[in-house]
């Protein structure tokens, strides 16, 4: 009975931890170039207890900054979705999935540009080059009703 209670307690806890693993979003995202119209190449830092988790975190950071903050120096200076809190709240299920890997169809490239190693604060991190298909991402948001199509 005691074991059973422990399991009952542990499972939801594990699920919650799993949900949160790649959620810590940092602003370590910088514009590199726009290789073709409608795309953007970014450099993004990511943290995680394992290398794959750090890579996922870097990719999620790149997408999150592009979508909710905008990328200075690029053609996407304005955020794609200006009201982050409202968008995340209204489309919480979509964005939960999106940042857990749902962004991959819009990611044209993800390659490491540093080794996975501990940084100044001791947290292990990695730097990724992430190329994003911005046009396709915008169309996705428009088709799902997350953002309005161009116009009034």
């Amino acid at each position: 009975m005691k074991h059973l209670l422990s399991i009952l307690f542990a499972i939801p806890l594990l699920l919650l931890v799993a949900c949160n693993s790649a959620r810590t979003i940092s602003g370590e995202v910088n514009f590199i170039s726009s290789p073709e119209p409608g795309t953007v190449l970014l450099s993004a830092g990511g943290y995680g207890p394992t290398k794959p988790q750090a890579i996922s975190n870097a990719e999620a950071n790149a997408f999150s900054t592009l979508i909710f903050k905008g990328i200075p120096g690029s053609q996407q200076q304005l955020p794609m979705l200006p009201d982050e809190t409202a968008s995340r709240k209204k489309h919480s299920a979509y964005f939960d999935q999106f940042f857990k890997g749902g962004y991959k169809p819009f990611m044209m490239l993800s390659e490491s540009q540093s080794s996975y190693a501990a940084g100044r604060k001791g947290r292990k991190n990695i730097s990724q080059r992430v190329k994003i298909n911005v046009d396709a991402l915008r169309r996705e948001f428009e088709n799902r009703g997350i953002t309005r199509k161009f116009g009034l």
């Binding site: 399991i7 499972i11 119209p37 304005l78 979509y94 161009f150």
Partner: protein
């Protein structure tokens, strides 16, 4: 038995959790009204826009690139050349004023927004480049919606069309994003307008005249009407004298109750009808988003 049920419950809990994580199906896209947009060449005073466009390949490239940007967003623009041909040359000659020709084209096109485009060649010892300047204006209010300046990289080349293409490509996305953010702001807060209510010289009433048996002055009744008929009740009263009421800013909705475009002329008509109902005859004049009402 107890363990079996517990395991089943755990399994069901896990499945429910995973199902809850799946993305919901696409929600219906919010309705958008497509404003009509025309991309026009920039012209100085006394210059004919069509001649400028026909004689300048770089300008044509810049205009086409900007139009392409709109197309990519699923937006068709009004063709400037086609529309300018519709303008009656005789009438233009009669007016003998080329800046009026521009106004005529904008009016005839029915464009809600026009985008002025300019391409300038820069020659330097370090190479040649092209600067493209684009500005979007609300045709009704003259309000500037977005402005961008793009420079091509410098090259030792005389192929200015390519440089123009580079300069325009470098700003078109940002330009459209800025326009969209202005659209979002307008949709949220309404379109900007202004209203002047005056009394003609022969009028027998003024702002202090009591309306019917309400015991309220005409100016008070007007304020109440504006509260109820402007978008979200937003208007700013600059001042009221006995013969004049100036509302320097008011917000108008974009859609009427039937989902049709709500233009300043409609607002003026509604105000005129209301005035008639409370016993005041009036005339109206609408210039862009400025409404002038004169009580007779």
């Amino acid at each position: 038995m107890f363990r079996k049920h517990t395991l089943t419950l755990l399994f069901l809990g896990l499945v429910t959790h995973l199902v809850a994580q799946e993305a919901k199906p696409a929600t219906e896209a919010p309705r958008t009204i497509q404003p009509s947009i025309m991309v026009i060449p920039f012209a100085k005073e006394n210059q004919d826009m069509r001649t400028i466009l026909e004689n300048d390949i770089n300008l044509r490239v810049a205009v086409t690139k900007i139009k392409e940007g709109f197309d990519k967003r699923g937006f068709s623009t009004v063709d400037f050349v086609a529309k300018s041909k519709l303008v009656n040359n005789d009438r233009a000659m009669e007016l003998n004023n080329l800046s009026s020709l521009k106004q005529q084209i904008i009016e005839l096109s029915g464009a809600d927004i026009y985008v002025e485009t300019e391409a300038k060649i820069n020659r330097t010892d370090g190479g040649n480049s092209v600067t493209v300047i684009v500005t979007a204006y609300d045709a009704f209010s003259g309000l500037s919606l977005a402005n961008k300046v793009g420079n091509s990289p410098k090259f030792y080349t005389e192929s200015f069309e390519k440089l123009t293409e580079k300069a325009a490509e470098g700003i078109v996305e940002d330009f459209l994003n800025t326009m969209q953010s202005k659209f979002d702001e307008i949709v949220k807060n309404g379109r900007i307008g202004a209203l002047n209510i005056t009394f003609s010289e022969n009028a027998t009433s003024d702002m202090d005249t009591e309306v019917g048996d309400t015991g309220k002055m005409f100016s008070e009744v007007m304020e109440k009407w504006l509260e109820e008929n402007t978008y979200k009740g937003y208007f700013h009263l600059q001042g009221v004298t006995s013969t004049k009421m100036i509302v320097d800013e008011l917000r108008l909705p974009f859609l009427d109750a039937n989902g049709n475009n709500y233009r300043p002329t409609k607002f003026a008509a509604e105000l005129r009808n209301y005035l008639k109902k409370i016993g005041f005859e009036s005339t109206r004049d609408v210039q862009g988003s400025k409404i002038f009402i004169t009580i007779n």
